[in-house]
């Protein structure tokens, strides 16, 4: 069964707006990672947050982790059309990585 579950499944916004995606998981983790997948392309790693971290920034990305709620959020600020992609979270519980179904983000120019 899948470990990470992203929410919402699809998100459509205008360029310049912020996009927030959420991920929930079921078991204890060592770290949580967010990936992006452009249509027809491979997965690109975005950011990793460890279980003892609560927030992490990378450029226009901000990730939070709440281990008590077993959830994480990915915020993309000042979105661009090039941010249009599917976003996946992955956890490493039990020495493996399990992915959710992803959030499909569409940024309209």
């Amino acid at each position: 069964s899948q470990q990470g579950e992203e929410d919402p499944q699809a998100l459509s916004i205008q360029e310049g707006e912020n996009a927030t995606m959420n991920c929930s998981y079921k078991t204890s983790i060592n770290n949580l990672q967010w990936y992006r997948q452009n249509s027809g392309r491979g997965l690109v790693h975005l950011i990793l947050i460890r279980s003892n971290e609560r927030e992490k920034h990378s450029g226009r990305l901000r990730v939070t982790l709440d281990t008590s709620k077993k959830s994480s959020s990915l915020l993309i600020t000042a979105s661009r059309a090039a941010d249009t992609a599917s976003y996946f979270c992955a956890t490493d519980a039990w020495s493996d990585m399990r992915f959710g179904a992803g959030t499909r983000l569409t940024v309209k120019p």
Binding site: Q2, N30, N31, Q33, Y35, G42, L43, H45, L48, F88, A90, D92, S95, D96, M97, R98, F99, G100, A101, G102
Partner: protein, 113 residues
């Protein structure tokens, strides 16, 4: 480059035939994972190798699927008697260890006709 590589990039096969997909992980990475992504679907975990430990095969969808990792490096995913529902992109990833950052290969697009 020093990334994860997969071959072939595309494979078209007839229903009932066997196929082998190859993954070359990043040198020194002890953990290797196989996933597949069917059209419009999310990523589905298939199998995980960690060092010399027995692999976690809990994601393999049927006994037609098998994988091996020779010498702790290259891995081969074998699908026997392929079915049309096996059509998907098969992704391989590796990481330094079980808690490390995962790096993905470009995938193999398998089409079963």
């Amino acid at each position: 480059g020093a990334g994860v590589s997969q071959s072939p990039s595309n494979k078209v096969t007839e229903k009932g035939k066997d196929v082998e997909l190859r993954c070359d992980p990043i040198s020194g990475h002890t953990a290797l994972y196989w996933y597949r992504q069917s059209l419009g679907q999310g990523l589905e975990f298939l199998i995980y190798f960690q060092g010399n430990s027995a692999p976690d095969k809990s994601g393999l969808p049927s006994d037609r699927f098998s994988a091996e990792r020779t010498g702790g490096s290259v891995s081969t995913l074998t699908i026997q008697r392929t079915q049309q529902e096996d059509s998907a992109v098969y992704l391989c990833a590796s990481s330094l260890d079980r808690t490390g950052l995962g790096y993905f290969g470009p995938g193999t697009r398998l089409t079963v006709t």
